[in-house]
């Protein structure tokens, strides 16, 4: 067996803060072997990134390694000086970060940034370094590498940037690359290209990868071995197969069950793990997971020893739990469809909201343009979008970033004026109407509660503001009573009322944002990527909450997300957008089964599922998403379409053609599309 590249031996790391010592990593031992891909998974705040940075000898000034050794190729790096660390980082370990947009210096060309490291460490000439950079870009199939080298970071796309970061990490021929959530900031279609590249690199180069993520689908695709970290401790480790098929630690099992997944029965509620990550300053003795664990007993107040569980494939399976393998129940209730009735008990047939040929063009003309009377340049953010939403219904909107889905939400809220088309609410044209009562009926929940909740206000102020504004309640006593009810509604303890947002966890903050939206009993709520900023273990609970509220108040949702699994779970119907236009609309089952719009099929097939092996083939979309300022003629998707095209594709914009309420905007024959093979096997979509 190959020796380990990186080996952590009983490592503990802590940070000094004003509130006390944060014990971010506690007694972690693990090793990454030569040429393998080791996935480290855990929630945010679990210490996985701290471990990664510590492995490169990089800790902030207030951090320190309290115990243990970090061995790189058998050498302890904890005592390394500056020069040794520089050499380690520059030659032996590469790193890929989460956000490709901020990881490159905007002032220097890609070429400059690629080559400076090897010039510095290997003392080679600039010309030689450039040659090597060029060869590396070619090796990882980046189109037009010569020009890329001369470009500045802001001139290339995110997916491209992330590939270049990989080239950068590989350039010094390192033994190990550490990747910290490298695809979190990317679209699924870009993510799949990135993952393919990684697979390709692993098959050709002898490099080990430490992959940090919370995305189980990616773990299932890439990893050889998996380590699960909870509150700074490794709780379980084993081969990918073992971890997915026979997870033994209650936390791992809970994590596996809380992933919203395509294969889940939509009628079942998603499982969400109860409780919160413990405070790392005042940790209880014993197992850190015990307070959230359903099988915890008295023995759990002592630290669990490592247990070895025999595995089918012979790869060591370590679990740190007193009750490893104990049977657990993850049964959840079922979701009742929300059917809306009027006073006489007749199901509603009139749509609550209807959008007809909605257009939003962002025009911008420069001074010279106006002087020369040139037509303004347009960004076609929304073009001829039509759909309707019934009372109590959820319409999911999916598409890559920049496809106009957020603009759609904003335009419906009339935060931005529509350029054309109309919006009807309960049959009334509200396209250009602004009134207090409409604001009350139509609300929004934003992606990041960190920026949508005022950090200086207490929850009381945040929640009572809309009540006061719309004259629903007044007077301290009444407002307080109402706020308590709102907190109850979103399952937050009443004691939170005078807390500020920063004292809450991410999921709790999002609950506050939802409570604020529901304070005025809206009949329509735009949910703009509400789960994207949250941990997997929390996402399910937010979706459950939204579904519960929907049933109670018969609210309709426009659920905007790039996470197809989450959209599938909550939506009755789904709309797929591409470059400002709808390409497909239909019930959730219709969209997930043929006939597909070619774009929908590509989107669906790009999902990484937490299954081994992946049950589906991925379609890689060629090229970049075109600019909405200069969309292709005819069908907007034609420049990336992988199907044989007809003449009309390049010249005529396809109309949305409906059959059984399932609309497709594609020139291809419906029969051809119907004959398409399903992306997921029948058994998957129950």
């Amino acid at each position: 067996m190959a020796g380990p590249i990186l080996s952590l031996d009983d490592v503990s790391i802590s940070f000094k803060t004003i509130n006390g010592k944060v014990r971010a990593v506690r007694h972690v031992s693990l090793e990454v072997r030569r040429g393998e891909c080791y996935a480290l998974i855990g929630e945010s705040g679990s210490g996985k990134s701290t471990l990664a940075f510590a492995s490169m000898g990089y800790l902030p000034a207030n951090g320190s390694i309290d115990s243990g050794r970090i061995l790189f190729n058998g050498e302890d790096i904890t005592g390394y000086n500056h020069a040794q660390l520089e050499k380690l980082r520059g030659k032996h370990v590469g790193m890929v970060f989460q956000n490709p947009h901020t990881a490159a210096n905007p002032c220097y060309t890609i070429g400059e940034q690629l080559t400076e490291g090897i010039i510095y460490h290997e003392g080679i000439s600039r010309a030689e370094a450039e040659e090597r950079a060029l060869a590396m870009l070619e090796a990882i199939n980046i189109p037009d590498p010569k020009r890329i080298l001369e470009r500045y970071p802001h001139q290339i796309s995110g997916g491209q940037k992330q590939r270049i970061t990989i080239a950068q990490a590989l350039l010094s021929h390192p033994d190990l690359i550490i990747m910290d959530e490298p695809t979190t900031a990317l679209d699924v279609t870009t993510e799949i290209q990135f993952l393919r590249l990684l697979e390709d690199i692993r098959s050709r180069m002898d490099v080990a990868i430490l992959y940090i993520t919370h995305d189980m689908g990616i773990v299932a695709r890439l990893a050889d071995r998996v380590g699960v970290i909870y509150a700074g401790s490794l709780v379980e480790e084993g081969s990918r197969e073992t971890m997915f098929r026979h997870p033994a630690h209650p936390y791992t099992q809970g994590l596996m069950h809380s992933i919203p997944s395509i294969e889940m029965d939509r009628k079942h509620k998603g499982y969400s793990m109860p409780g919160l990550l413990p405070n790392l300053i005042s940790l209880p003795p014993g197992c850190a997971f015990a307070p959230r664990c359903s099988v915890a007993g008295e023995c759990c107040s002592s630290l669990p020893e490592v247990r070895l569980i025999p595995s089918e494939d012979g790869v060591e399976h370590r679990v740190f739990c007193h009750h490893a393998g104990a049977p657990l129940s993850f049964a959840t209730g079922t979701v009742e469809e929300c059917v809306c009735h009027d006073e006489e008990g007749v199901a509603c047939s009139e749509p609550l909201l209807e959008v007809r040929n909605l257009k939003k063009y962002y025009e911008h003309s420069t001074f010279t343009d106006r002087l020369l009377r040139r037509a303004p340049r347009c960004v076609y953010a929304l073009d001829d979008v039509s759909f309707s939403i019934m009372p109590g219904e959820t319409l999911g909107v999916v598409g890559e970033s920049g496809c106009g889905k957020s603009t759609l939400g904003k335009t419906i809220l009339r935060l931005t004026e529509a350029t054309g088309g109309s919006i009807f609410y309960k049959g009334e044209d509200i396209t250009h109407k602004h009134s207090q009562s409409l604001c009350k009926s139509i609300q929004i929940v934003f992606q990041s509660p960190d920026s949508s909740l005022n950090p200086r206000h207490s929850l009381y102020t945040i929640l009572s503001r809309p009540l006061l504004l719309h004259g629903i309640a007044s007077g301290r006593a009444e407002l307080e009573k109402r706020c308590f009810r709102l907190l109850d509604m979103v399952s937050l303890p009443r004691t939170y009322l005078y807390r500020k947002p920063h004292q809450l966890s991410g999921g709790e903050k999002q609950r506050v944002a939802i409570a604020r939206a529901f304070a005025v009993h809206p009949s329509f709520v735009v949910c703009d990527e509400v789960t994207s900023a949250l941990d997997v273990s929390v996402q399910a609970s937010i979706i459950n909450l939204l579904q519960d509220l929907q049933r109670e108040f018969q609210t309709s949702y426009l659920f905007i997300s790039h996470d197809l699994s989450a959209v599938r779970e909550i939506s009755q119907r789904i709309a797929v957008m591409y470059l400002g236009r709808l390409v497909e609309v239909g019930s959730t089952d219709q969209v997930f089964q043929p006939p597909y719009h070619p774009y929908t099929k590509a989107l669906l097939s790009s999902i990484s599922l937490p299954c081994i092996p992946q049950p589906h083939q991925s379609i890689l979309l060629e090229g970049q998403i075109p600019s909405p300022a200069n969309p292709p003629s005819g069908c907007r998707f034609r420049t990336r379409c992988y199907r044989t095209q007809c003449e009309a594709c390049a010249s005529v914009q396809p109309d949305m053609v409906f059959r059984d309420g399932h609309g497709l905007a594609c020139h291809l024959d419906r029969a051809v599309l119907e004959a398409d093979t399903p992306v997921f096997p029948e058994s998957f979509l129950s």
């Binding site: 940075f53 901020t102 490291g117």
Partner: protein, 317 residues
Amino acid sequence: MSPVYILKRFCFMLVTLFCISIIIFAITMVLPGNLAQVILGEFATDDALRALEEQMGLNLPFYEQYGRWIWGVLHGNFGHALSMDQPILPLLLFRLKNSAILAAFSIVIVTIIAIPLGVFAALRRNSAVDRIIQVSSYIGISVPEFATGSLLIIALAGPVLNLFPSAGYVPFSEDVPKALSHIVLPVMTLVIVLIAHIMRQTRSEMIHVMQSDYVRSARLRGLSNTMVVFKHALRNALMPTITVLALDVGYLIGSVVVIEEVFAYPGIGRLIVYAVTSRDVPLLQATVLTVACVYCLVNFLADLAYGLVNPRIRYHS
């Protein structure tokens, strides 16, 4: 840098200057007091007043008066200074040159001292050295200019250490060492006043940039500390500093009256004050417009410097 970008910024500057000239002219027009009255004195007859108004074009509509004035200005004719009875242009150029000398020395020295200080303070954030740098630069900016100037005079030009002349002016064309020794004290005072501006701006931006992802990424690529700080961080941190530098140059040209007064230095600031007190409207217009031109020009240069530092600006035009 693309010529389009430069041209755009240049046109922008011209438009700004045009607007400023209108504002300046309009303000001097609505100032209380009739120009003819000022010239002829309190006891002038109505006829004499009217005749002079006619002669000077004061009875013409606003746009015509403005047109005549700006036409003259564009041809280098700023008119006559009423209070001194001599053409304005040579006077103005002389004062502008003096102010420019003072400004140039001050800004160069401030840049050389304050930017490294700021970087150093940022890297040693919250240390004793950082605190000392911050506090002393604050003292420099908070003590009134005349106090700093006077203290310097007492310390360096007083009876104990008579190193430099305490006031006055010698042209560089006459005697360079002597001219230099005359501007040492005013330049010192200005530097003390301005260091805090530049130092603080550099420090805060540097702290911000040092926490950015690309600096972390540069560090984790194994680059040396020197490369991380000076190549990756400093260049990005300089943008706001350039803005402040440009504003400071404008300030140095037009608004250092107190220091010119303390050191009896013939700069343009004192000329403006003189024009105001002696109600010399043409001189006032000319001096204020000159200072405005300097502000605009410096900001234009700052725009070009942005483009040099940051490629995103360079390529977005």
